[in-house]
Symmetry: C3
Subunit: 151 residues, 3 copies
């Protein structure tokens, strides 16, 4: 079953990738690795603003992380033109906008890891670091960067 079939079965439509500004880009390929820029959580096209441990629940944080994973897939689709050429999701860094008391960034991160597992199967399990940070661009509740390996 192809990655695209799995996305379709999950009802996931990949968004358009925002055209690159000149200064930095959504991804860079070097050798067999694709480094994808940190992508922030969005809802209805706007930054999904708030902080875990304050306005944002763990469940909402997980939904935000899942949404980012879809945006990361869209970047990988643009990078490869064919998601099934990805041989491994190598690593995720999951940055969670956290009140100083919020100690569950790893649960938030699961929202992204689960989607990647559903879509990539055996190629999905990745190394991962989850971190609670002081703030994120535009006040977003979650930001995720990714490294993938291509054939």
């Amino acid at each position: 079953m192809s990655v695209y079939s799995r996305l379709s079965a999950l009802g996931v439509t990949l968004p358009q990738v925002t055209p690159s500004v000149a200064l930095f880009v959504p991804f860079v390929r070097t050798g067999r690795l694709i480094f994808v820029s940190g992508h922030i959580a969005r809802r209805n096209g706007e930054p999904w603003v708030g902080r875990l441990g304050e306005q944002i629940t763990v469940a909402d944080g997980q939904a935000a992380a899942r949404g980012i994973a879809i945006d990361l897939l869209a970047a990988l689709h643009t990078a490869t033109a064919y998601l099934d050429s990805i041989t491994r999701i190598v690593k995720l860094v999951v940055l969670v906008n956290s009140a100083p008391t919020f100690t569950e960034p790893h649960l938030v991160a699961n929202g992204a890891s689960e989607l990647l597992h559903q879509v990539f199967g055996d190629r999905g399990p990745h190394a991962r670091t989850a971190i609670g940070v002081a703030q994120l661009p535009l006040g977003a509740c979650v930001e995720i960067e990714l490294i993938a390996e291509v054939a």
Copy 2:
């Protein structure tokens, strides 16, 4: 002198690596690089909870970082089956759970860097980034991720 002899001389016993959950894994190898997941500080098997600049001293933070380095070695041992096949510790990111006034995450990081130097000798010196963060998984005082190069 092999890496295992040095560990033995230091009185260090490598712990068992926690079996992977399905969603993410302790490490991923791609080409000659091994990306090891962020590992949190533990003491007596439990998360070592607290914040630098509050309950945790620099000395305790260094001990926590050293303990994580041992866990990272255990992951690398599992990844390679033979630690002497590691040709270089490439990079560490050291995340320190910090009160907003704590400005010495680099001193905490030395606890991990020193152990890697003792164990790997010339192959030990690595690129490094030390950061003070708002929180970490389960309230741990330190979290470290690592990249290593294998033969």
Copy 3:
């Protein structure tokens, strides 16, 4: 136009790279990648201390980020002996010492990205993650790490 000519046209002189301590080093090369350690902002040779959203303005943060980019170039020059052998700036992680209300780390990051674009042209655009963090080594306002690809 060579990278050195562009630096000269910008009036930028590369600083001396601080000699490595034994424990960690300014950069590690592995295969075609150079991982450069997190470098903190400096002004007149001293750490540029402060927090965005408090004492440090966005304009000053951008100047600090630009200054770090110059230090990163000095590290890359030491690593390669010839900056024109760099085929791509792969990735930046920009860590901004942030008050909990400061939501523009990406604007601060532009200070570094712009310089790299000016100096490297088509080889300059990189993947990037900008993060607001609780603190940084020595209280610095910005810290940046970099990955570059060499020929």
